[in-house]
Amino acid sequence: MSAVSSSGWLYGAIQRRRNRGLGGLYLVVAAFLILYAVLFPGILSVGGFSKFTQNWFPLALVTMAQALLMLNGGITLAIGPLVSLGAVIAATTMEGVFGVPGGIVAVAFTGLAIGAVIGAIVAHLRLPAIIVTLAGSFIITGVALILLPRPGGFIPDWLSNMLAGHTPVAFLLLVVVLLAWKAFLATPLGLGIYAAGDNPVGAFRSGVPVERAKIVAFALSGLLAALAGLFVAAQTGSGDPVIGTPFTLNSIAAAVLGGVGFLGGKGTMRGAICGSLLLSVMINVMFFLGFPPVAQYIAQGLIIVGAVAVPELLKSWRAKR
């Protein structure tokens, strides 16, 4: 993983250093994936793999949406409501004159716009992101409930079957999103998101447009959350104005599990994605191990603490040597 092919010695060294902190997490995730494949070999079939990645996909997207902001030194509590709103808009617009493309554009635009507005308030009024997004989450929930007071709406079957059928389309989309993130990081603005999170003053003095980077980070985060909502709508075949709620906390848990720090600049997107994968595969593994629900609550906590502790223990063990 760490042996990056080209790009010179410095790049390789930096990637190695960034991956090192994640070694423990990779081990834990790999162990769970292997255990899952042993318990349920069907995961290795196309259908099984597709279904598993479909259940993971929205969590992976919202974890990216969260990690993006945490890397920038922010946080958002509006993830869940944005997922709900994305699902509601998808389920209410796809029947309209513009059909599915219109619905997708509407969802994407809404996510971008809401994210940008929140980002502008945070950046220019210098208000804490946690307060602005908390307030935003109430407003967005309200709007979703007005648009669709109770679960319903309509998603064409072909779209549901394409995104969440028996093919790994969701997984391929995730790969595309990750490649896009990689490409974005290579641009000055992409790097600026990291830099502004790590050391805002230093970044500003080096010519990084700190405020613009923040607004872009919020807008992209909003886009990812709303698209996760679109996927949830396709997966369930309808909209539900409160279905996203648990995603807020889970996105933070997955990002932190993946080594993304609360203070900005620390962490990697691949770590966050691994964190979300662990949260998702854990549910299935506990099911196949036949854990009773009460034990699942406890095991879940232990796994999360363990996954955070293992890398730390490895680090101190390495330092002692």
Partner: protein, 357 residues
């Protein structure tokens, strides 16, 4: 009641019954009447079956008791050789996790799934996937939209509200000042019960509603709400309380203030029933029977055995009044202090419910 009595004939009865059911299943198969099979059933699954119980949230007492009836029913069916395993999941209130659990149950190739839905729409696709695989799906209490299930089982919330309002109106001679205590706002059960009460209230214009409350289905918040209402209203003739342990909170509020108790409706919460008897007041209660869970497992197994089961099983609301309350309180110690004393059930009742068309 087979859950709590050590009745030796119960297992014998069920064993005899199981034999009969199996014979019937064989008959159905040999006669080739595939059309008589219930929804989702393909007839390729053989006993003993694995049953999955996909719960949305296991923490509330009502859920724990419901799970208790499911586990008890599975034990009975195990003795009859019809079930070999019960898999239980708890989605911790997250509909998305419930989808993942049901998908895992499909992956594990369970034979039947019993489910209380966390969202009326979100589970539709995964449930119809399970149905396509020939898995018997029985959905109870909180229902899904899709009709691709073997059976849906529930009571009627509208009748609940109507029954409660009717009794209170009769008690008060159709005249007086009442307070309506609802469950949480925006919850469909709570809405539906209130809606069911409305026609009765409309028909009795002399029954004046002083005010309405919305609280959780627990005693404490209800007591708090009623306490402030008592200060504001010197004259209250009756309390129309629509579920949970709300009625218990109301009675305790009256008691604390030293006010004379008035007729009150409610649910089968043990707290309420005990206060009802202790204070000697006029009461009426119905219930969402916990054994809907047991009935669901039984229905799923019957369907797998090739029996035709109704697509919707409407369970009549059992009623507790002054004449029957003693029979409930006699069994109180078998139920948790904050639990629900549900009505008796047995195989015969289930068969009767399954036979209705």
């Amino acid at each position: 009641m087979k859950t709590f009595e050590n009745n030796p004939s119960a297992s014998l009865r069920s064993r005899l019954f199981a034999g009969a059911a199996m014979a019937m299943g064989l008959l159905a198969l040999s006669a080739g009447t595939a059309s008589a099979a219930a929804n989702c059933i393909k007839g390729d699954r053989k006993a003993p079956y694995t049953v999955g119980w996909a719960n949305i949230y296991s923490v509330p007492t009502w859920m724990k008791q419901t799970e208790g009836t499911i586990a008890a029913e599975v034990e009975e069916l195990k003795k009859a050789g019809l079930v070999k395993d019960l898999m239980i999941t708890d989605a911790q209130g997250n509909a998305q996790t419930q989808i993942q659990h049901i998908q895992s149950m499909i992956d594990a190739n369970v034979d039947a799934i019993v489910v209380i839905a966390g969202s009326s729409n979100a589970l539709d696709r995964v449930i119809s996937d399970a149905c396509d695989k020939g898995i018997a799906i029985v959905n109870f209490d909180s229902l899904v939209n899709t009709d691709k299930v073997t059976a849906k089982i529930n009571t009627d919330s509208g009748e609940w509200g109507a029954g409660a309002a009717k009794w209170l109106s009769d008690q008060l001679g159709g005249k007086g000042k009442i307070i309506v205590m609802n469950g949480p706002a925006g919850i469909s059960v709570s809405d539906d019960r209130r809606k069911g009460a409305q026609p009765v209230l409309d028909a009795n214009p002399d029954l004046k509603i002083i005010t309405e409350t919305n609280t959780e289905y627990n005693a404490a918040p209800a007591q708090e709400a009623m306490t402030s209402l008592l200060f504001a209203n010197p004259e209250i003739d009756g309390v129309l309380s629509l579920g949970g342990a709300i009625s218990a909170g109301s009675i305790m509020a009256f008691d604390r203030q030293g006010r004379e108790q008035v007729p009150v409706t409610g649910e089968n919460a043990r707290q309420f029933l005990e206060l009802w008897k202790e204070k000697g007041l006029k009461g009426w209660a119905t219930m969402q029977p916990n054994w809907l869970g047991a009935l669901s497992v039984y229905t799923a197994v019957q369907a797998l055995e090739g029996k035709d089961v109704p697509a919707f099983i409407k369970v009549p609301l059992p009623v507790i009044d002054d004449s029957t309350i003693d029979s409930y309180l006699a069994r109180a110690d078998q139920f948790p202090a904050d639990g629900y004393i549900y009505s008796d059930y047995d195989q015969a009742l289930f068969d009767k419910l399954l036979a209705q068309k």
